[in-house]
């Protein structure tokens, strides 16, 4: 399955990965100006940790046995049996915050986009249905985010 690997050695701490993630999920044509002017904008699925010269981007690990999926009360959080990707079915999500608490990495938040009826769980979905290659990997200015293909389903 595909995974995003972050290389701390080359991370600039610029935060562009988060900018593009949020923008793409808010405006699929990647018009950043329009996306950022929306009254409601989806939170990014990737965040940058910084301390002095150290920086690295964190995103959902698409775990083998995801706590978020296990704890989801409506079955909105699912792990795709073929690709291994963990994603949230927005229709079913009731924003109960269980997955947010359950995730040991803190990679889930509750957010609402311009076309959403209600807030819902939001996290990295490997840009499912939005981009062939995750946009953070594409746009990282220093190639510090790498998409790796791993053997078998997670």
């Amino acid at each position: 399955m595909k995974r995003i690997v972050a290389l701390a050695e080359y991370c600039l701490g610029c935060g562009l990965c988060a900018v593009y993630c949020s923008a793409l999920h808010t405006a699929p044509d990647l018009d950043l100006v329009r996306a950022f002017r929306q009254p409601k904008r989806l939170a990014a699925g990737i965040t940058v940790e910084k301390n002095l010269e150290f920086a690295v981007a964190r995103s959902c690990r698409h775990c083998e046995n995801p706590y978020c999926v296990e704890s989801c009360i409506t079955g909105a959080m699912v792990k795709d049996p073929l690709t291994g990707e963990v994603w949230c079915d927005v229709e079913r999500c009731v924003a109960c915050w269980t997955c947010v608490a359950a995730c040991p990495y803190g990679m889930v938040t509750i957010s609402q986009g311009p076309h959403d009826q209600h807030p819902h769980a939001q996290k990295c979905d490997l840009c499912r249905n939005l981009s062939e290659v995750p946009v953070c990997v594409l746009k990282c200015p220093n190639e510090a985010l790498v998409l790796v293909e791993e053997e078998g389903v997670a």
């Binding site: 050695e9 080359y10 991370c11 600039l12 701490g13 610029c14 935060g15 562009l16 900018v19 593009y20 923008a23 950043l32 100006v33 996306a35 950022f36 002017r37 002095l52 010269e53 920086a55 746009k139 200015p141 220093n142 190639e143 510090a144």
Partner: protein, 500 residues
């Protein structure tokens, strides 16, 4: 506190329609120009710190930023220009020597652009590089007078050579003036391309020893990092007598750029200024140089070429002749446009001569004396593109060095502030927050792309001249014609006028 007379040189314009307050400009500017104002909830800036490096402009995801030269000017004065006035203000404020970086930026003639190339028509068919072999292989090193000795046999010990797949190498840029990541990129690219990069006077980092076959190690006046392992690590040794940007003075690395990594590699204390002496204090004359050349040859058991790098100065032809007779296997001549990490402004802008003339003069003189084959000539000092490479070879060079062009490929924006150690592109700095900005994978790829592109262009131009081997372009002045040159300039360059 007295008045600060220095006004900001640049204005950063922010298009508020496009700015999305992502704060990337803020976290990327090492000079602290951009700032998020919490109370007004918008981006604000201190333009006085801007050095026009374009980092924020390039990184801004919505292209909301532009940097322009300030329209704030003094009254028009062709003698006391804005630049001349500000230089006085700086010195009055600090009492210091004005420093600068990169190469001479004055508006003198660029003589490469006054030379035109030939192409074959009718009497001689041009050669198609896509269909016919086109050979760019070059050997740097001394060549023997003849193939066979008196007994009719080939000599066993031919002088050692450095074999290059293309006649372009990366110029000496010390570890210290630039970061280890850039050195890694240069080393990897040199290996991939089958050429060499030069360590410069900062020593050879242990992580780079594996690229020894593609490394020229430099022995400069400060002798930083020079020990027996260092000498044996590379494929050639270069004694640095001078460099084009600052003939007559030594290297200068401000203490702020001497990190622990630099300290270890150069074998000097952390935080101390690394100022190389002007001369090598054991080379005060040509006979002293000969001694050093041979000591180095002994140290590597005559297995590697030992050459000398000099700046292009007034009597460069005579100096080159002396260098050849001192046993050097190659001579690198650095013209006045050569780049540097740090140099006094006055020296950079006023000392030295153009490489085009120096190269032609040296080639002529060595041929007149019948000793041109005793060493290879490497030309440097602003080789900007593949046409400059071709012209340099036609004027007599065996190969060229590129320094500035390589850094531009890696991302440099020529702001000329390398000496501050705050290179926003992560190139001319040791600050770990900044050096990350050069990913050696990305940078080496860009360097390889640059030289592969030049390689193709060179082959196209060669084929156009009806030549299929670079051997037949060396010193072939008849392939050049001069345009907008005085008679004297043409005479020195040894080229006819266009139309002749």
């Amino acid at each position: 506190m007295a008045l600060n007379l220095i006004r900001p040189q640049f204005i950063v314009e922010r298009d508020r329609e496009r700015c999305i307050d992502c704060r990337v400009c803020e976290n990327q500017c090492a000079n602290g120009v951009h700032r998020w104002d919490q109370t007004r909830r918008e981006m604000t800036l201190d333009t006085s710190q801007c050095v026009n490096c374009h980092r924020c402009v390039v990184m801004c995801p919505t292209e909301a930023l532009t940097v322009v030269a300030t329209p704030h000017r003094f009254r028009d004065n062709a003698n006391w220009t804005d630049k001349a006035i500000y230089e006085i203000y700086h010195q009055a404020a600090t009492g210091q020597v004005l420093l600068t970086s990169m190469g001479n930026d004055r508006a003198h003639h660029i003589y490469w652009d006054h030379l035109l190339l030939n192409a074959c028509q009718v009497t001689n068919p041009p050669i198609d590089p896509l269909r016919e072999p086109m050979e760019l292989k070059t050997f740097v090193g001394a060549k023997p007078d003849r193939l066979l000795n008196q007994r009719g046999e080939i000599e066993d010990d031919l002088p050692p050579q450095v074999e290059l797949e293309i006649p372009v190498m990366f110029s000496a840029m010390s570890l210290g003036s630039i970061s280890l990541n850039v050195h890694k990129a240069l080393a990897r690219a040199a290996q991939e391309l089958g050429i060499c990069y030069n360590t410069g006077e900062g020593g050879l980092h242990k992580d780079l020893r594996q690229y020894g076959k593609n490394t020229i190690v430099q022995v400069a006046s400060g002798r930083f990092g020079v020990d027996i392992d260092y000498l044996r690590a590379g494929s050639a040794i270069e004694i640095k007598i001078g460099q084009g940007a600052k003939p007559g003075i030594g290297g200068h690395l401000p203490g702020s750029k001497v990190s622990s990594q630099i300290s270890e590699t150069r074998m000097i204390p952390r935080g101390t200024d690394a100022i190389s002496p002007a001369p090598h204090h054991d080379i005060y004359s040509i006979e002293d140089l000969k001694q050093l050349v041979y000591s180095l040859k002994e140290a590597v058991r005559y297995q590697k070429p030992v050459g000398v790098k000099i700046a292009a100065v007034h009597n460069v032809a005579a100096i080159a002749s002396g260098v050849a007779r001192a046993g050097a296997d190659f001579i690198a001549i650095d013209g006045y446009r050569g780049g540097t990490g740090a140099a006094p402004l006055r020296t950079r802008d006023n000392v030295g001569i153009p490489i085009e003339f120096a190269l032609a003069a040296v080639d002529n003189r060595l041929r007149e004396e019948g000793i041109r084959h005793r060493l290879s000539i490497i030309a440097a000092g602003s080789i900007r593109n593949s046409a400059d490479v071709i012209k340099a070879i036609a004027l007599g060079a065996d190969a060229v060095y590129i320094g500035t062009a390589a850094l531009l490929a890696v991302g440099c924006h020529m702001c000329q502030k390398c000496y501050t150690g705050k290179c926003n592109w992560g190139i001319a700095t040791q600050d770990p927050w900044l050096t990350k900005r050069v990913n050696p994978d990305v940078a080496s790829r860009r360097l390889i792309n640059l030289l592969r592109a030049w390689e193709h262009e060179i082959k196209e131009m060669l084929g156009g001249m009806g030549i299929n081997s670079l051997d037949s372009l060396r010193s072939n002045r008849l392939m050049l014609r001069g345009i907008n040159l005085s008679d004297k300039e043409r005479e020195i360059l040894g080229v006819l006028a266009a139309g002749e």
